[in-house]
Symmetry: C2
DNA sequence: TTCAATCACTACCTATTCAGTCGTGATTTT
DNA sequence: AAAATCACGACTGAATAGGTAGTGATTGAA
């Protein structure tokens, strides 16, 4: 429920990789410049994305990062959870047991649960491919690969 | 997009008022005790709720707060926005103009917008009455008033 | 009329988190 | 060997979260 700059930058970076999917590794420095992301900060995000096995790293000169899966198969939820941890409601996290009347659970819990669920649905149903810039640009790269 | 303890406590307090709707003012102290909310903190939340005209205050002994509208007509969105400010995406807030390819807008913007919208829908469609404890408890109070 | 209960307002405080930066090392290509 | 790149951990300044404290204003009840 807490979205920070990690998600913003991380999703942007992931979209960039989606745009370049199949065209070899893209360096963090390149993405940082293109997207206006602080380079040393982005570096850390890629460490998290690699540990979540969303990207794989290629070290050395001409190295960089590549998506480990097709951009259609990677969702924003994957990226966000890799960077921010599990997407849970930031409130009413089972530490609170007060009730309205006699109910055994927090009276507000249903709405927080619905909120988390709605957010999760949006993120889980949005692939990197669907965000990857003008779709034709993406398609053009794809068709170039097919040849 | 940022939900803090203010929302958690504020919605709980609002539910409490919903449970007691029509039965005169309920003091902040009483709600704080019943719901396990730090009293001085809750006091501040009520200031915000009053300024948003969601509740009205009754000063002096036997005073407290009452909902200004029927619990069916007050939504969680009302309460959350009164306490946290307008519900907007915490990321991609129009300060960022980078693009994927040649698009004029941030490539990730659509998903953040959808997320905000989804959250808003959930909160706007949840009334205090629907959360107010066991609905029968609430109904009982209501029918008692009708007599 | 006094007193206690209650809301009103402002200021203040402490710990955590955010949003990075920095230094250094490891790996690979050229 | 040199340059480019990723890897890892420590560090930091600013903001925010989550309260607390002091004081004052208003009102009902004794």
């Amino acid at each position: 429920m807490r979205l920070t700059a990690k998600s913003e930058y991380g999703v942007l970076a992931a979209i960039d990789l989606a745009c370049n999917y199949g065209a070899g590794p893209v360096s963090a420095r390149e993405i940082a410049e293109r997207r206006g992301i602080p380079p040393r900060f982005l570096e850390q995000l890629f460490v998290a994305l690699r540990r979540a096995e969303l990207v794989s790293a290629v070290r050395g000169a001409k190295g960089g990062f590549v998506l480990t899966r097709d951009p259609n198969e990677v969702t924003v939820l994957d990226v966000v959870e890799a960077l921010e941890g599990p997407l849970a409601s930031s409130v009413c996290d089972q530490t609170r047991e007060e009730t309205c009347g006699k109910s055994a659970t927090c009276a507000a819990a249903p709405v927080w649960a619905k909120a988390t669920s709605a957010l999760r649905d949006v993120f889980a149903s949005t692939s990197l491919a669907s965000l990857a810039g003008t779709q034709d640009t993406f398609d053009k790269r794809q068709s170039a690969l097919d040849r």
